[in-house]
Symmetry: C2
Subunit: 629 residues, 2 copies
């Protein structure tokens, strides 16, 4: 064993040296946080990891996720040692245009998910491990390197709870207890027992070791692999900056290159060029496939009423039957979001995450790492709980579908804590996102399959209340489109709504028609991407637009419409109707009226606006007059 | 004791009956989740709670927070029993205009914070308890009623960790283990030991009881009060819907009125009208006051450079010295946000929350319950972790100040996981929020004291990089204002930026000036509220606006400007420059250029825009021509 122990130690030193070198080359980065975990990773990659770097998409590969993403120099050093990247490329760390970014992202084919916002790698690892057990049904393992500081994030305990609950013995977390956070000592310092007691309480096998003793590390990994019926965590006492006296276990050395690079390399025994032949997957097998039937979307009779949340649930079942890769994830509100229909019909692909929205998104991100198509659902308001996970999912280039029910004041009596009134804004501001807000059950059904096809974060906002079926089954509602629901040759104003407010806008249009005012009505079911052409045409042709949303005034439908019109000349007058005061309880109708977004208030606003723009339109040289096409 | 036990039992039954009555009157609500905890609350309010309902602002009062906010019928029944509200008012539950809302909000003077988004009441209780120990220095107690379902939220474990760490023996959590969540059994059902082991691992005193045995409840509260040096948790086995056979411990009875109200009331022994004389605070004392000096804001020499994050830190120290009620809270990045300056100078009012952003916001909300003025700081990107807490803080009408550093691509090498690019959008969409984005250190210093004066959620976005000092010390920068930094009589275009992009806009203006194009430059340091007048005047006078932001295109500066211009006629042409592709690593300059928001790209966009609008402006009947004033 001595020679193997020496090999591990040598590799550990190489990983340290390379972490020092890359961060010195960059002039920034986290060498000390890399050095603490170097021995752990040296033993892992030499002896326990099974991964084919030439075939990162091989479904049999293990998964190695750096929850402490700032230890990226260590990860890149491992990639170099494995021969996946060259020394030269490693030294492009943090340079513009390099894929060796400050924190790992899936621009690199061996990186499953972006990390760097602490406390996310472990919850996502739980998702990957769950996919291994219950979806792929393959015996790959998931290894997750965690920092000690990030144990303060509640999301880590959501992960501990769920991994314990699901007895994920294919998951091993490695906690690099180097005692020091960014500004000082962590809550628990080197009290390994504090971590052990917590882990054991959550049903994990906990293994305490000296994280610089390669024999102990070897024993810990062997014990982790031998553990059945529960996840395992290796709690390793380490030194930040281990191996270089000037920084080792010293405060104030977080996130900066080593001052004297050459001296540090010398102290670590100099540069090495050890190549590690990482073991390839050692079993045969392909991911489990679920049986499918042809897609038959649900349909709803025009003139009747149904809630879009129910249509979402119905359509998700239909999609799940037609696509074996579709899975549903819910935060213990499946009878509200109607994922319970999926749970009943396709229980093998339904995942109850209880009331843990961060873990819900992390599970979804983990599933899509393994090419599954997750649909995660809860009240739209509670998706706010996982906003940072959604933000990072976008950095991960993850493909996940989210459904948020119970949007806006129209939920009624439950009051503001349950009302999503900022979800359109927050999801619009996610990079590459799609934001859908269907107004009708058949439209919802048409959109659900598109959600699975679409890349990136796809959010659908659904409505609690039953609303009239406007469209015939089978009509086409492409993402990025809008539907002109009502139109005449003499429209004096355009009303733009979606979801519940399309219906109040239609009510307003009817009231206005009775007074001789023709109103165009647009169903903006795709808030992002928005159908700029339809919006602009309405602006040109009517000169007056009223946007109506069951949402705060900022960042939702109104702002999306204004953005589409930003460069238009002549420019229509746009009046935004939105919720402006904190609502209380009440019936949906009372609350819509109080917010000024029911038919009566929209009609009043339209009347006022037409009074203003109509006058302008009668003066030929004024704006808007040339608009009619 | 028997008579007292009977009294408690009778009161428990009354609380149940009244929960049934109010939810039946409303036609919705959560009677069953109220009934499980009725005995616990009956004993608490009769014997252990110290609270003067006539003086809810008495700083000596205990605090009772319903983390399971959906048990509001129980809370309102308690208010009725205490004589705080009438039976008639209780029966207005969930009616439009009533303050007896679906979930508790501080519209009621006895409610500290809004709950209803699960997993928030306990973290906020930790904040209140911490205020009791370290700020007020008064021996009031904090009682927090928790659900068992909400234990799945990671934020609950952040709270457990922090209460244990700070040894908050003035805090008692009461877990109503009624086994049933919304859709089914919780992860741990009636396994009280699962909760006990976790609580003990986190350093809490755990007390397991039968939650319907008033003697056991009494003993548990006595034990909790007697516990010193650690927080206590009463883990009570209860039945959902206890006392009414038709719903007791039955699935499918969550969140709906009892079907047969009269039979249920009869089974519970009928209506009662017990009045409880809740004990008033039994000690003398006033909140601790910290010594103050006169306010002397930091100042920076025009022409030098400083980072606005540093100016924030400097100004916060100055404000803290001048206002004894100001406290700082940080998520273990104080050397990045510069709250470390406050920690060094005013350590008694600095709170290290480690890497637990939800607890950071909850602590702040708890502090402001007790009238302290919290400033919480971390990287702006990581505030996304606590978005639901911020959303709920707005429902709580909380007054908290937040500072987010390291915004945008201009942070450079660290890469996208650390870059806030959606924070302006997400914070603009918080009800009643204020969003500041200073461009200069003196301006930052001028804004910080205003943050403490302002109501609601006040967010300041700061910049990592040092930027030139533009303004003289002592200049006035009111919230809601904007500063025209550059202006001529012949401006052909307006450039609007803030923070880092004000500087790139000024660079662009200089480039344009060399080509004979006069550009107005506006510093939009107050993104919300926005200075509509200045923006509109610029639109009228130049007919062409370019907004520039180190943020995604949705919901930030560009959309705020467009919203201010929505009803303008004639309307300027507005071009939004923002980050559109996922950034990687690089220098700040490289990344600003790649995003098209550096001086060169802004100048190019302005040149193009002036080419278009200039042509229009030469045609007298066209839009924009009449704009010059």
């Amino acid at each position: 064993m001595t020679s193997q122990h020496d090999d591990w130690r040598e590799l550990g030193q190489q990983l340290r040296v390379d972490s020092v070198r890359s961060s010195s080359a960059a002039g920034s980065g986290h060498p000390t946080s890399s050095m603490s975990a170097a021995d752990l990773m040296a033993v892992l990659m030499s002896t326990y990891l099974h991964y084919d770097f030439d075939a990162p998409d091989d479904p049999r590969n293990d998964h190695l996720i750096f929850s402490k993403g700032h230890a990226s120099p260590l990860l890149y050093s491992m990639y170099k040692a494995a021969g996946a990247i060259s020394d030269d490329e490693m030294l492009t760390f943090r340079q513009f245009g390099s894929r060796i970014e400050g924190h790992p992202t899936p621009i690199l084919p061996w990186v499953d998910v972006a990390t760097g916002s602490l406390g996310q790698g472990l919850p996502i690892s739980v998702g990957v491990a769950l996919a291994g057990k219950r979806l792929d049904r393959l015996p790959y393992r998931v290894w997750c390197l965690c920092g000690d500081s990030e144990r303060a994030e509640g999301s880590m305990w959501e992960a501990f709870e769920h991994a314990g609950f699901h007895k994920l013995d294919n998951l091993t977390a490695i906690i690099d207890v180097n005692r020091l956070g960014q500004t000082g000592e962590t809550m628990h310092g080197w009290d390994l027992g504090a971590y052990r007691r917590r882990a054991e309480a959550f049903g994990w096998k906990a293994i305490e070791i000296d994280g610089h003793d390669v024999a102990a590390i070897d024993g810990a990994f062997a014990e982790a692999i031998a553990t059945t019926g529960q996840p395992s965590v290796i709690i390793a006492r380490t030194e930040k900056g281990h191996g270089v006296a000037a920084v080792s276990d010293q405060p104030g050395k977080h996130g900066k290159p080593i001052e004297d690079e050459q001296a540090a390399i010398e102290e670590l025994g100099g540069r090495r060029d050890i190549h590690v032949e990482v073991a390839k997957p050692d079993f045969e097998g392909t991911p489990h496939e679920f049986p499918t039937v042809e897609l038959t979307l649900p349909s709803y009779e025009p003139g009747t009423k149904e809630a879009t949340r129910k249509a979402f649930g119905d359509a998700l079942v239909a999609l799940g039957k037609a696509r074996g890769d579709v899975v549903a994830v819910d935060g213990e509100v499946g009878n509200s979001t109607y994922t319970e229909l999926f749970a009943n019909e396709l229980p093998d692909r339904f995942f109850q995450v209880y009331i843990a929205e961060q873990q819900m998104i992390a599970t979804s991100v983990g599933f899509q790492v393994r090419k599954w198509k997750p649909f995660a659902a809860t009240f739209a308001a509670f998706l706010a709980r996982a906003y940072d996970f959604v933000r990072m999912a976008a950095v991960s280039r993850a493909n996940i579908a989210l459904a948020g029910s119970h949007a806006g004041v129209s939920i009624g009596e439950d009051g503001p804590s349950q009302m999503a009134l900022e979800d359109l804004a927050s999801f619009r501001a996610i990079h590459g996102s799609t934001v859908l807000y269907p107004s009708d059950a058949n439209q919802t059904a048409a959109l659900v399959p598109q959600m699975a096809e679409r890349e990136g974060i796809v959010f659908m906002r659904t409505t609690r209340e039953k609303t009239p079926i406007l469209y015939a089954p089978g009509e086409d509602f492409p993402i990025g489109g809008a539907r002109v629901v009502k139109r005449t040759d003499a429209d004096a104003v355009t009303l733009i709504g979606a979801g519940i407010t399309l219906h109040t806008a239609l009510d307003a249009a009817e009231r206005l028609a009775g007074e001789g005012i023709a109103a165009r009505v647009i169903d903006l079911y795709s808030v992002k991407p928005i159908d700029e052409q339809t919006v602009r045409a309405a602006g040109r042709e009517t000169g007056a637009i009223i946007t109506v949303e069951d949402h705060w005034a900022e960042g939702g439908i109104g702002d999306a419409v204004l953005a589409a019109l930003a460069e238009e000349q002549p420019h229509p007058v746009v009046v935004k109707l939105a919720v402006s005061e904190m609502p209380g309880s009440g019936t949906p109708d009372e609350l819509l009226a109080a917010a000024g977004i029911d038919g009566e208030h929209i009609a009043a606003a339209a009347r006022d606006l037409v009074g203003r723009t109509g006058e302008q339109r009668r003066t030929p040289t004024e704006v808007g007059s040339a608009g009619r096409e």
